[in-house]
């Protein structure tokens, strides 16, 4: 009788253990993935073994997100740049500051770089909210020439964003 009781407890523990191993779909991922060759999943097996729907956070299923909100804030910036010299080469950089809020341009972290044609630049750039403050700069190909710089900051009160230089 006593032995039977022990066997019964053992089987119970075994069942609990097996059940614990085959819970959610993500658990299946953890325990079934041993290597690429071990993970061949037929559609039928898939349905049985990788059922993740129960794992969805209740908070997320009840969240209400606007249909047209793509969960990232972006904006378009129209840049209008003219060449400050009539018959010479000039170059335009639109970059982040080296350190946030500083006045030093970081040429390694730019959104636009290019020569300024005689007709100027008229370009529409798509930017993320990481680019709400930029430094615009015109440089002449001259070792002695001063650069022409302007700090551009996103205008939250405007539906369109524009940068004009000079």
């Amino acid at each position: 009788m006593k032995s039977f009781e022990l066997i019964r407890i053992f089987i119970y523990i075994l069942i609990v253990f097996i059940a614990g191993c085959s819970g959610s779909g993500e658990d299946d991922k953890e325990n079934s993935v041993q290597g690429p060759s071990d993970i061949e999943i037929s559609p039928l097996e898939d349905q049985q073994n990788i059922d993740q729907s129960e794992a969805v956070s209740q908070n997320l299923t009840s969240v209400q997100i606007a249909k047209d909100f793509e969960l990232i804030k972006k904006f378009d910036l129209n840049i209008l740049i003219s060449n400050p010299i009539s018959n010479g080469r000039a170059y335009f950089n639109l970059c982040h500051a080296k350190v946030s809020d500083s006045l030093t341009i970081d040429y390694e972290n730019c959104v636009y770089r290019g020569g300024i044609p005689s007709s100027g630049i008229d370009e529409l750039l798509t930017l993320t909210n990481q680019s709400l403050r930029l430094i615009a700069e015109i440089r002449l190909f001259n070792e002695q020439a001063q650069s022409l710089q302007k700090i551009w900051v996103f205008n939250p009160d405007s539906t369109t964003q524009t940068l004009t230089l000079p």
Partner: protein, 820 residues
């Protein structure tokens, strides 16, 4: 009586010195160096100032301005048997010993043996050439015209401090010598730039090994444990490195196999001018097959060798590029670099390359101290650098550009209050890869367009000289001259602007540039400098008039995070596929000519076989120049094209099956989504997509483009997807339409609520793909995004008006620690 007195006086004096020496040695017992030092030591000046020299950079530091003498101390070397330096003490005309207090203690020698056997009074002169042997405990000292001598340094030996003659054949014009760490041979470079191998056990084997390429007074010579010989030139302080291990003296010509055989006279260079012909200008062969073997250099000119009627041979020990050989019929003239020549007539055959290595080659190694009087020593069984030494700045380019110490890469002594580029300088024990984070002094103000000038801003901490090279032909090396774009240009503290010319024949694409700031106006892209900094950069050489638009910027990424259980809800940990992503659009005037996509696969917590692709809406795949398309994964070029031609829009399959990119392990069955799996590194990708038919920028896609994940055929992808048709399964960003390869019937299945222009979202607007505007710590496995990022729901429900920086506020224990 007088004689007896003098003998007794000398004896007493000798005993006195011996006694003083004994007590001096006893008191110095604790002044031995603790270990074999890695630095070199240099004695300079008429009153023996001692410097420590870092051979890595050439930097010298005054260790002692008073070595206890008012005269020179020269010819010194380190004795590994007792950890003391020994050299010639000019003040006492005898051997001197130096411990870590840097004070010279005279070690009187018993020179009676040399005097009685060779008739030479050693003490009547001083010796500025010397070193301590490595394989046996002797100090060797040499003077041209007098001889090479040695003194036993073993106090337990019966011959302790007794001098002996090695040879009185002292013809070398040398200023220091150094012992090789293993061979027992000593080496020296004479004033004509000839490297000498000195065999101290059999001096008849001493020979010149050839011209090193530099001449002058090489007053300091050192060896390191790897067998490199370093010689310092007094006039300019230049330190040169010579790999003597590649110099062989064994004949490569098996004379016994020559046909016809040598049956006449045979001379070696040691015979020329042969002693038997001393005083004549001609060597006359016999009527047999004569042979003249020239293994080294002969400092004579205008001599003649006249062969007779046999098959006469000339065997040159150096390469033909070293000798200049001119001929007129069977008469030859061999001219050495110093202008000396030898006329050899009636030669029927010349055999070159009698040595494995044709000539020793010295390379500039470091910019050391200038001196008119010096001598160097170091422990030859030590490396020249300390593994923990972080006082040296190295370059970072691949080693084909010579970057490591062994490759004689550029090196500078770090001085954070001295001369450097930018606002910081850090030292490192070895070159960092790929880029040293203290490389902040160079700003490429404009792009580098082929055939035009480019602007660079260079920030210097103080005044110095800037030097720069760009690998224009992309052959993996910096040509010292043709690719030297800035050569000793003066810089002042602050920003200095320079124009650099990009030649017309430069090759477009990515390459490396090296900038070196130094107090020296002559610097190479290799070698050590005692001050300044080196910074290596990856630069892009562009065609003319390229304009470049970056998304999100040129050194940042957005993170794309996908759920792969679509069209059903999954666990929304958004880590089934996580990709860092950047796009670059190159334009010429109004036309897009090229796209570049680059970033990293950051994570994949997926059981399914997913791929990652990007669609170029509006770009016909036939407008892509597939010949110049470049596709790299983990820095390796891929042979298979990633381009899809079957649809109207070009699609690039960047990762056809992510499961193929990593190997699951017991603890990390997935890729960087489980705790403790940081040892798995992100996998880089880069695709350059040139367009053979440029597209007007108004019609060309820009910004994010259309990145998406898809199913890899043959592996299954849930109950809605037919086996072997997994490619038709795609997940795009919210409201982005799928490609023409997509299985339309999947739309609106299960939890998906796509309709009209609304795609890949549920009825409550929840997406299966996110674009995060930064690098991102993705949630751990099974961790819903709103638990990892508590501000996410507020951001999502407010249309982004609230919690706009939701992605920077996470629960640390619920996200994967990217280690960045």
């Amino acid at each position: 009586m007088l004689l007896n007195f003098k003998v007794s006086e000398s004896l007493l004096l000798f005993l006195f010195f011996i006694t003083i020496s004994y007590f001096s040695n006893a008191s110095l017992a604790d002044l031995a160096f603790d270990e074999c030092p890695s630095k070199a030591f240099l004695v300079q000046g008429a009153d023996a100032d001692l410097y420590g020299v870092n051979l890595v950079t050439g930097q010298s530091t005054l260790l002692a301005s008073n070595m206890g003498t008012a005269n020179k101390f020269n010819g010194f070397g380190f004795n590994k048997f007792d950890n003391y330096f020994y050299g010639w003490d000019y003040q006492n005309n005898t051997l001197g010993k130096v411990g870590k207090d840097y004070q010279i203690i005279a070690q009187p020698l018993d020179n009676s043996q040399v005097l009685s056997i060779d008739g030479i009074d050693i003490s009547i002169t001083n010796y500025f050439v010397g070193d301590v042997a490595i394989t046996h405990n002797y100090f060797y000292f040499y003077k041209k015209g007098i001889g090479l001598f040695r003194a036993n340094l073993d106090p337990a030996d019966a011959n302790y401090l007794i001098s002996e003659t090695v040879t009185t054949n002292a013809v070398m014009t040398i200023y220091d010598m150094a012992f090789h760490p293993e061979s027992g041979l000593a080496f020296a470079v004479d004033n004509a730039g000839l490297l000498w191998k000195i065999n101290v056990s059999d001096y008849t084997q001493t020979e010149s090994l050839g011209y090193i390429g530099y001449e002058g007074v090489f007053g300091a010579a050192y060896f390191d444990v790897n067998g490199y010989l370093y010689v310092g030139r007094n006039s300019d302080g230049n330190i040169y490195r010579i790999d003597v291990s590649n110099i062989y003296s064994e004949s490569q010509v098996d004379i016994s196999e020559l046909s016809p055989s040598v049956d006449g006279e045979s001379w070696s260079y040691n015979d020329y001018p042969p002693s038997t012909h001393s005083g004549t200008n001609n060597i006359n062969g016999s009527s047999g097959n004569d042979m003249l073997v020239i293994n080294g250099n002969i400092s004579i000119s205008g001599f003649n060798y006249n062969g007779a009627s046999g098959h006469d041979r000339l065997i040159l020990g150096q390469s033909s590029s070293y000798y200049t050989v001119t001929t007129r019929g069977s008469n030859y003239r061999v001219t050495w670099p110093n202008g000396n020549y030898l006329n050899i007539n009636n030669v029927e055959e010349i055999l070159y390359d009698n040595f494995l290595s044709t000539s020793p080659s010295a390379e500039f190694f470091a910019n050391g101290p200038i001196s008119s009087t010096n001598d160097g020593a170091r422990c030859a069984i030590a490396e020249i650098f300390d593994d923990d030494d972080t006082t040296v700045d190295y370059g970072d380019a691949p080693n084909s550009y010579s970057t490591t110490l062994d490759s004689n890469g550029p090196r500078h002594t770090v001085d954070q209050s001295g001369l450097f580029l930018g606002s910081i300088i850090n030292g490192e024990a070895s070159p960092r890869s790929p880029i040293d984070n203290s490389d902040d002094g160079i700003s490429f103000v404009t792009s580098l367009e082929i055939g035009l000038d480019a602007l660079v801003d260079i920030e210097a901490s103080s005044s110095g000289y800037i030097h720069a090279w760009v690998d224009f032909n992309q052959n993996g090396i910096f040509d010292h001259d043709s690719e030297n774009v800035l050569s000793g240009k003066v810089v002042t503290p602050g920003i200095n602007t320079f124009l650099i010319a990009i030649p017309n024949d430069a090759v477009s694409g990515s390459t490396w540039a090296r900038f070196r700031l130094s107090s020296s106006d002559v610097v190479l892209p290799i070698g050590g400098e005692p001050d300044g900094e080196v910074e290596d950069y990856v630069v892009t050489l562009d065609d003319i008039n390229i304009t470049r638009v970056f998304y999100p910027s040129s050194n940042s990424y957005v993170t794309l995070a996908f759920e792969d259980y679509w069209p059903e809800f999954g666990d929304f940990d958004f880590n089934d596929v996580v990709v860092r992503y950047r796009t670059i659009q190159d334009k010429v005037e109004q036309n897009v000519v090229r796209y570049t996509l680059e970033g990293f696969l950051d994570a994949s917590g997926a059981a399914y076989h997913n791929g990652f692709a990007v669609r170029f809406i509006g770009v016909d795949p036939n407008d892509v120049n597939v010949q110049t398309l470049r596709y790299d994964i983990a820095g390796e070029g891929q042979s298979e094209s990633p381009l899809e031609f079957n649809y109207t829009d070009a699609i690039l399959y960047i990762f056809p099956d992510i499961r193929d990119l990593y190997t699951p392990t017991e603890n990390c069955s997935l890729f960087r989504t489980q705790s403790g799996c940081n040892s798995q590194s992100p996998i880089s990708y880069k695709v350059t997509l040139p367009l053979s038919n440029p597209i007007d920028s108004n019609a060309a896609p820009s910004g994010l483009l259309d990145p998406f994940i898809f199913g890899s055929n043959g592996h299954g992808h849930g109950k809605h997807v037919t086996l072997n048709q997994e490619r038709g399964w795609e997940v795009h960003m919210k409201n982005q339409s799928p490609s023409l390869a997509f299985t339309q019937s999947l739309l609106s299945a299960e939890d998906d609520d796509s309709s009209g222009s609304e795609y890949f979202q549920s009825s409550n607007g929840l997406p299966w793909a996110l674009e995060v505007p930064s690098n991102w710590n993705h949630p751990l496995e099974e961790m819903p995004i709103n638990e990892a990022y508590p501000d996410f729901i507020g951001f999502a429900e407010s249309n982004g008006d609230s919690n706009s920086d939701w992605n920077s506020n996470h629960n640390t224990n619920k996200v994967f620690n990217t280690g960045e």
